[in-house]
């Protein structure tokens, strides 16, 4: 239990050429709401809740931006991996 309280951090780069746009933000918020852990994304010192589609849209991460993913709680490992997949996937439409 103790180690789940530890913060898991990972840096990911936004690859998709439209940036963190509506489609990706929607899928991410929907996906993250299924996790119990607390998940946030940080860009240039601004931190938003990854379960909030509005927060993600307002983050306005353009292509090439590096984001810090922070997660804390029981299923944080899987949450972080899923975020990484969503952000680093160049062609999310193909999935």
């Amino acid at each position: 239990m103790g180690e789940e309280l530890e913060l898991l951090e990972l840096t990911v780069k936004v690859v998709n050429n439209l940036g963190l746009h509506a489609r990706v933000a929607t899928r991410m918020a929907q996906a993250m709401q299924n996790y119990a852990c607390k998940v946030t994304l940080v860009k240039d010192g601004v931190e938003v809740n990854a379960k909030s589609v509005l927060g993600l849209l307002l983050l306005a991460a353009a292509p090439g931006t590096e984001l810090l993913v922070k997660a804390q709680g029981p299923d944080r490992q899987k949450a972080v991996e899923e975020i990484k997949r969503l952000i680093e996937d160049e062609n999310p439409e193909a999935n």
């Binding site: 929607t26 929907q30 292509p63």
Partner: protein
Amino acid sequence: MRTPKQIDRKRPADLAQPLDNDANKVMKGLGVSGGIAIGQVIALERLSTEIYPQRILKPEEVTGELRRFESAVRDAEAQLKQVKKMIGPGHPLQNHLYILDTHILLLEDRMFFQGTQDIIVSERQNAEWALSTIISTISAAFDTIEDEYLRERARDVHFVGERVLRILMGYSEKGSIRQLPPNSVIVAHDLSPADTLQIQKDSVLGFAIEMGGRTSHTAIIARSMKLPAVTGLENISRQVQTGETIIIDGSTGAVILNPDPETIFRFRQHQEVYRNYHQGLMTFGRLPAVTSDGAGSVRIMANIELMDEIDLALDHGAEGIGLFRTEYLFLGRRDLPSEEEQYEAYKHVVGACPPNSVTIRTLDVGADKIASNLNIEAEANPAMGLRAIRLCLGRKDLFKTQLRAIFRAAAHGCCRLLVPMISCMTELRNTKEIIEEVKEELAKAGQEFDPDVRFGILVEVPSAVAIADLIARETDFFSIGTNDLIQYALAIDRVNEHVNYLYDTLHPAVLRLIRQIANAGQASGIPVAMCGEMAGYPVNIPILLGLGLGELSMNALSIPMVKKFIRSVSMEECEELTTRAFEMSAAQEIRGFLEDWIQERFPQDYFIDQS
């Protein structure tokens, strides 16, 4: 994006004499999805939520108001889910369904939902008022976003908010957008994704909307459905009535209310052209641009400035990108794009095209248009001021960042480097020195890059034409930028209505300048391309071919027409026409001669603008 001359007709006001004051009212908006629609207006009347009730609640009313808000949100969610259900698998707009999910998520979002509830409780504002306040706050947050596409997402918050507001104010979802008469042209203040997704393609011919731009939902969906759409039509809803005839031109943004029969006839002709253009012509995109006698062969490329234009370009038969304008990365923002951001963009373009088929142009704007922290005083004549290569040479950090990004991206598929506005050899040599520095730095840092990126100049300044022979010895290729070359050479400001009648690509001076560039290129054995607009119009092609240009880069939409034209003429004919053109002394004479020749030679085709 500009359209080929075939669809770029004179302003509608010039076309027809109105029978009475009410006929042929012309409005100009933004064309966001090409094509012409002639149909009857279906005015989507939505009672406005601009004016909503505002009152301070009595303390005992707060709980009830919270519940009323919550109930309205639940209803909104149910409405959206209902729309989702209607879009079964196989629906042409399947791809856009996700936006309904975005709206549903927005309804549930803390900032939105909780935010409104907090205001109801703390300020004791009624639900409509509290909701409008939250929407304004969130919209304001979006305003600070620099990227146009991402910023436009603020509209989604508006749509969602408006849906809830309408429920709170007791407005029913009037007039089913699902049951429209055939030949409908939808006129509305705005269309939400829920609206557009419910539209039956068979009944709707096009859209005329007050709000929105190129990245709005209406535009995106209209392009997906290949229906004409015009946005930015201020107050059109108040000027039309359901049942009236309307013409919309999604390429030029023109809208004509109550057109008279003559106008309708003209537009039906243009519609034919547009349809033929898209159906028959697209096949030519897949063919090589080789003259009928096989003696001439030209590379046909596309000019683009945004990444999402690549698919359109390749679809229309572009063999690559002859001009990738990089300004969009720098405009409309307060900071400068990082090397990483630029690298990702260039890498994407290079990767999306066949190897060795992309030409990237370095920054071509003035200091006034980019990052306001560059601290440069306003110039009286920016067109001839500190811009393009001059700005880059003055700001080495900016220039090197872009160059590094380009050289690194080139490792993924080879590309050429194009430098704008070179006017003398010193500038050229300074540029090349900086390029060498960049290559050394990248090598030292162990970065992956292509050291053999070919370097060329955009020939647009008349002094560069005059010394083209000297420049050709120290560059790898030329690309002729006729848009600016013609302005500089003829001393015309293209957007000045008083003098732009002088602008003519077939001015004898222009032809001679092009000939000089082509000859200089041939003497040094370097390829000569053209990326100016001139390359996209068939009437100019015989001379461009006759002068020996090997590559033409143009607006993607022009490509099929140009390829068809090239395949229809022989090099012999082109050379003959070129000789004849050079014997003439006035632009009008040359143009008349070429147009007559083309019309006589190809009576069935639409190579020349018929209007």
